[in-house]
């Protein structure tokens, strides 16, 4: 089972932290800090795997991937396959990329709840739910469609979309 998913930026700030087994806030911080401590000291061109037992206790492994300014970290136990987890990170990031069109750290920060939505479509209760990024995207889009439909209060006025295009042409 997957124990935790973390996204940490290269300066050690958490961007997403999801623990599939409850951890108190202080413990979460401690875990994030120690994971960052290990990751930041890793050289380039080494393996993406880490022995996480000293941080997360017995029977835990850690796989991470470094994209631009972010570390994506999955923590899991021996019932998962390391290489497969590495691909799951890839799925997650690919989906985010499709979601946000050239995803960057800022998207991750500002769309905190959407990030969780995406993740929940990939990992469910610590198990891999879906590995096709198109399928995940479909599910996420369906949710946001229904959300906007069921949203009584329109969050973004119609006219705004034309504004938006204006700003992008500036």
């Amino acid at each position: 089972m997957i124990r935790a998913v973390m996204v940490i930026n290269t300066q050690g700030k958490p961007r997403l932290a999801k623990f599939y087994e409850f951890q108190p806030v202080e413990k979460q911080q401690e875990l994030i800090r120690s994971v960052y401590g290990v990751l930041s000291s890793r050289a380039e061109n080494v393996s993406n795997f880490l022995d996480a037992e000293s941080i997360f206790g017995p029977d835990t492994r850690l796989v991470y991937k470094h994209f631009a300014t972010l570390y994506f970290v999955f923590v899991f136990d021996s019932s998962e396959n390391e290489l497969a987890m590495l691909d799951l990170i890839q799925v997650f990031v690919e989906t985010l990329d499709k979601c946000f069109k050239n995803v960057c750290e800022l998207d991750v920060v500002l769309n905190y709840s959407k990030l969780h939505t995406v993740l929940d479509e990939i990992i469910f209760g610590g198990q891999v739910l879906e590995t096709s990024s198109t399928e995940v995207l479909k599910a996420v889009e369906e949710i946001s469609k229904l959300e906007t439909a069921s949203n009584a209060i329109s969050l973004v006025p119609k006219s705004v979309s034309s504004w938006r295009s204006r700003w992008y042409t500036v």
């Binding site: 930026n9 599939y20 409850f22 806030v25 979460q28 050289a43 380039e44 080494v46 393996s47 795997f49 022995d51 037992e53 000293s54 994209f67 631009a68 300014t69 019932s79 396959n81 390391e82 290489l83 497969a84 590495l86 691909d87 890839q90 990031v93 690919e94 985010l96 990329d97 069109k101 050239n102 995803v103 960057c104 750290e105 800022l106 500002l110 769309n111 709840s113 959407k114 939505t117 929940d120 469910f124 209760g125 610590g126 198990q127 891999v128 739910l129 879906e130 096709s132 599910a139 229904l146 906007t148 069921s150 949203n151 209060i153 969050l155 973004v156 938006r164 700003w167 992008y168 500036v170």
Partner: protein, 973 residues
């Protein structure tokens, strides 16, 4: 303009994410991003919390605002600040009818709350309602929350609804319901045990995704109880076959591979089901062999499946063809440039080596490369492998490597782990006592504070008892070498406490035993230790007792003792120590020096640490004394049971004891302590105090114990002395190291063989000779050190090369032994005896005294070849009639494999080269594509967008170091 950009961004976000965040949230993120220090960030977040608290207390907050506050709270809590004041608002939000708000509420709640939080009870009702909703998205959201929020107490409340959802028309819901049920099973197996059959049922679901989801709970169930699921082997095999043959819809393909995650899960399950079960395993051979052939080894996920195949092959009943295929994959992994694949290769090798130990030999250089790799993860994995392949022939090299690595480590967790590994290997495979002691010394020196105290006691025990052989000279040689090595080490600064305890004990017990060192020299060293580690009481205690022993041995051997001045001052200092234990030891020392040789002989017999100590629990030797006291008017002893009922006991001592025993809070006032005069203590009290102490007395070392209780058995004169000491010590002695282990063991149970140290001498010179021989060997491109290491680890790079030299340079322990038996001649039957604890049974063949020079050169290789022949023979049998009678067409298919296997091995070099190239290009493109990304940014689909994004990023201060607008371009390939 800057401002406008931000707003534009905000609005864009709004349309993308389905919600908009206010400027406040953006400002928060921005200011945190720009915070120069942790303190500044702290201040900003605390300010944010204050703001949110204030806002939340306002009446009639619009829902949209509320939602944003909740998201901000989640954010704040992620940064490590308590947001519990707002949990209730998140709970309230789950009740909302609006899907956006409900989802936000559930998200926040499942991040905030533990499953035993008080507020959960307020959500259960909502969850129940939502699980019944017509909108499947609501149902999914609720199912998601259920996984996190429901515990064994609340499972019954939602279980019926979840079970109902197993038949939902939407496959996404069915899938999630299965997984939720699995989560319930993980949290409280008993509550869903009656529903386990549902998992089996859902395995036949029409939707492959749902089927895949059931594999997770089934894997858990099978891990616990294999036998009840044996009937599913056929189903799993046929599912795997269908998946591998691409019968699933194209949408399940991932990187051109059919449903790899399902394949992995199935292979894991098959590994469990087939382990130790030949019949089940035979059903799997074909499909696993198929996957080996079909799997694309250029993609990461393809390699994941291949790795899982190896795991499966090594777990199930072995099949030589599959093992061969597995070995091929492993060699491809190990030859790869990717560290990830090397890591997997090493891991797989560790699995396969248990079944076919000879495959490690082909990869020895790759393994050594991994061992010397700068990547710590890989290095550790390689040590794991070495640990698995340690034998008595290579233990020295491996443990030396491990210790070197251990010394270089800073991580205490892993250091402890590897130290314990070293100890374990050394204890199991030590070629000689001397080596063992030296290794232990190194481990203690560098990780003494991290190893289990028991290891230290084992070491002391070993030195005291010898290695289980019956030869006193060997033992004493061992001891003197230990003493010598300790005298060398003792001067080094900052030794760990446990190690110093061992040193002091050994020096005290055997420091002067061989007459090489004078008593004053040893005691001087011991005094230095006590002085240098003056704040470690345990070490001081060990040192003082050791000094006492040295003096006692001196006196009993009739020599005159003059205490060194520093020793004198140490004793004086300790007799005024705050620690009663140290005080007692100091007084004991003074007392021992004062008495005559005869008395000392009986209280401190030299080299008696292995002797059994008989404890007279009834203290019958005190009877006379008790009688005398009672006659003088003392109260008779009241037994413990009688006493426990009585509340008013005048005797302060016995009450004190009683209290210590019951450990409960006492409510009545303490009596005033009476001045205690030892001789006037009622004997009954003393007796009780001794009896209440458990048999392995809670004193530091056994020797005090010995000095206390031994004489009382025999010597009437010293029993008085004993009483006095006992009265003081038993009450306060700290229960640290009780020597029960060594005191209960009998020295007679260990037999010693002759000439054990001679063995060492021969074997070391042998290995020397071998080393030089290896150095001279022509090496094409590999450095001689590496080759040397390889040969010492794996027993030579190739068998044929090894053979001519084998007469003298055998690595095998068996040969060394037999050479010794040649050299030692007369000791041959001793060698026979030694075979009892040697793992090499073939030694028996050489034990007769007619061993010739040719005999040793035959043994290991012939044996190996014999083994090989055997396996080959059995393998053909396996493939032959047994399999054929069952499933002829399977065997027919299987018969093809040798041909393909051959051809692939022929084309192997080319193939692997290509593979490597592809892998390398795919895996290392992160760096290359980032450059490409920069140059491409002009041609990109929406360069402005990207540039704008980047500018904003900089402006927000979130990613000041980034220079590449298309940050994730490399992903899209």
């Amino acid at each position: 303009m800057e401002q406008l950009k931000t707003i534009g961004r905000e609005l864009a976000m709004g349309s993308q994410g389905g919600f908009g965040q206010s400027k406040e949230f953006l400002d928060l993120v921005k200011s945190i991003g720009e915070a120069r220090s942790k303190a500044e960030e702290e201040r900003i977040v605390l300010h944010e919390i204050e703001t949110l608290k204030r806002r939340l207390s306002e009446p009639d907050i619009p829902k949209r605002k509320m939602k944003e506050y909740i998201i901000r709270l989640v954010y704040v809590e992620m940064l490590g600040h308590d947001a519990s004041f707002a949990y209730i608002h998140a709970v309230k939000m789950t009740h909302d009818d609006n899907l956006v708000l409900k989802r936000t509420g559930y998200l926040a709640v499942s991040l905030f709350l533990n499953d035993d939080h008080d507020l959960i009870i307020l959500i259960v009702n909502t969850i129940q309602k939502d699980l019944k909703s017509d909108n499947y998205l609501v149902v999914c959201t609720a199912l998601n929350a259920v996984c996190k929020l429901i515990n064994d107490e609340t499972v019954p409340a939602v279980l019926p609804q979840v079970v109902e959802l197993l038949g939902h028309q939407k496959e996404a819901v069915r899938k999630k319901a299965i997984m939720a049920l699995h989560r319930f099973y993980q949290k409280s197996p008993s509550s869903v045990s009656h529903l386990v059959s549902n998992f089996r049922k859902r395995l036949c679901d029409n939707d492959p995704g749902v089927m895949g989801a059931t594999l997770c709970p089934l894997f858990d169930l099978i891990t616990i109880d294999v036998n009840t699921y044996k009937d599913l082997v056929v189903s799993f095999v046929s599912i795997l076959k269908q998946v591998a043959e691409r019968r699933l819809p194209k949408t399940y393909d991932y990187h051109q591979l059919p449903a790899p995650f399902i394949q992995i899960r199935l292979l894991k399950i098959l590994a469990l089901l087939g382990s130790g079960d030949k019949q089940s395993s035979e059903k799997m051979y074909m499909v696993v062999g198929d996957i080996f052939k079909k799997c694309d080894s250029t993609s990461n996920i393809g390699n994941a499946v291949l790795y899982e195949c190896i795991c499966c092959v090594s777990a199930i009943h072995p099949n030589p063809k599959l093992l061969e295929q597995a070995a091929q994959v492993i060699s491809r992994f190990l030859k790869s440039d990717s560290h990830n694949l090397k890591y997997m290769g090493i891991d797989a090798l560790g699995r396969l080596i248990k079944i076919s130990p000879e495959i490690a030999e082909q990869h020895q250089l790759a393994v050594i490369d991994c061992l010397e790799d700068p990547d710590d993860t890989l290095k550790r994995k390689t040590f794991e492998l070495l640990y698995k392949m340690t034998k008595s022939s290579n233990v020295e090299v491996i443990v030396d490597r491990m210790i070197d690595y251990m010394i270089s480590l800073n991580d205490n967790h892993y250091k402890t782990y590897i130290a314990s590994r070293c100890v374990e290997l050394a204890e199991q495979f030590a070629p000689s006592n001397q080596w063992f002691i030296q290794t232990m010394n190194k481990v203690f020196e560098h990780a003494g504070d991290l190893v289990n105290v028991k290891v230290a006691h084992n070491l002391m025990k070993l030195i005291a008892e010898g290695f289980g052989e019956d030869d006193d000279t060997a033992d004493s040689q061992l001891r003197s070498s230990a003493v010598e090595s300790y005298l060398r080490i003792i001067g080094e600064p900052k030794l760990p406490s446990v190690f110093l305890q061992v040193i002091c004990w050994v020096l005290g017990e055997y420091g002067t035993a061989d007459g090489k060192y004078s008593a004053s020299y040893i005691t001087g060293k011991l005094c230095d230790v006590a002085e240098a580690y003056s704040n470690d009481e345990t070490v001081k205690a060990y040192a003082v007792t050791a000094i006492m022993k040295i003096y006692a041995f001196e006196i009993s051997s009739g020599r005159k003792v003059d205490m060194l001045p520093e020793c004198q001052s140490l004793v004086e200092e300790l007799s005024a120590s705050h620690s009663t234990d140290l005080q007692q030891r100091a007084y004991e020392l003074q007392a021992v020096i004062g008495i005559d040789a005869h008395a000392i002989e009986s209280i401190m017999p030299s080299d008696a640490s292995c002797e059994d100590i008989e404890i007279d629990k009834n203290l019958s030797f005190l009877n006379g004394y008790v009688q005398q006291a009672i006659e003088k008017g003392a109260q008779p002893y009241i037994s413990e049971n009688e006493r426990s009922g009585v509340s008013s006991i005048n005797n302060f001592r016995s009450q004190d004891q009683h209290e210590a025993l019951s450990h409960s809070l006492r409510f009545e006032a303490y009596e005033l302590p009476k001045p205690l005069v030892p001789s006037r203590v009622p004997p009954a009290a003393v007796a009780s105090s001794t009896e209440l102490v458990p048999v392995p007395e809670p004193s530091y070392a056994r020797e005090t114990h010995q000095s206390a209780s031994l004489p009382s058995v025999s010597d009437a004169g010293s029993s008085e002395l004993k009483l006095r000491l006992d009265g003081v010590q038993k009450k306060w002695g700290r229960p640290t190291y009780s020597s029960s282990a060594s005191s209960t063991s009998t020295s007679s149970s260990h037999k010693t063989t002759n000439g054990i140290t001679q063995v060492d001498g021969v074997s070391t010179s042998n290995s020397k000779a071998r080393d030089t021989y290896d150095l001279r060997k022509p090496s094409v491109e590999i450095s001689p050190e590496k080759q040397k290491l390889a040969s010492s680890l794996f027993g030579g790079p190739s068998r044929t090369e090894k053979r001519p030299s084998s007469g003298n340079h055998k690595v095998s322990k068996a040969t060394e032994k037999s050479q010794v038996s040649k050299a030692a001649g007369a000791h041959t039957d001793a060698a026979v005896e030694k075979t009892n604890h040697e793992p090499t049974p073939d030694l028996l063949d050489f034990s007769d005294s007619t061993v010739t020079g040719t005999a040793p050169s035959i043994d290991p290789f012939q044996q190996l070849e014999g083994l090989l022949d055997q396996t080959e023979a059995t393998s053909t049998v396996n493939n032959g009639p047994a399999g054929a009678s069952k499933t002829p067409e399977i065997m027919g298919l299987y018969a093809d494999t040798p041909v393909s296997g051959l051809s692939s091995s022929v084309g192997n070099p080319v193939l692997t080269n290509r593979d490597d190239f592809n892998l390398a290009s795919e895996l290392s493109n992160a760096t290359r594509t980032s450059q490409v990304g920069v140059s491409q940014s002009n041609r990109g689909p929406n360069p402005k967008d990207s540039l704008e994004k980047d500018a904003l990023v900089r402006q927000m201060g979130v990613t000041p170091t980034s220079q590449n607008p298309n940050l994730f371009r490399d992903l899209l390939g």
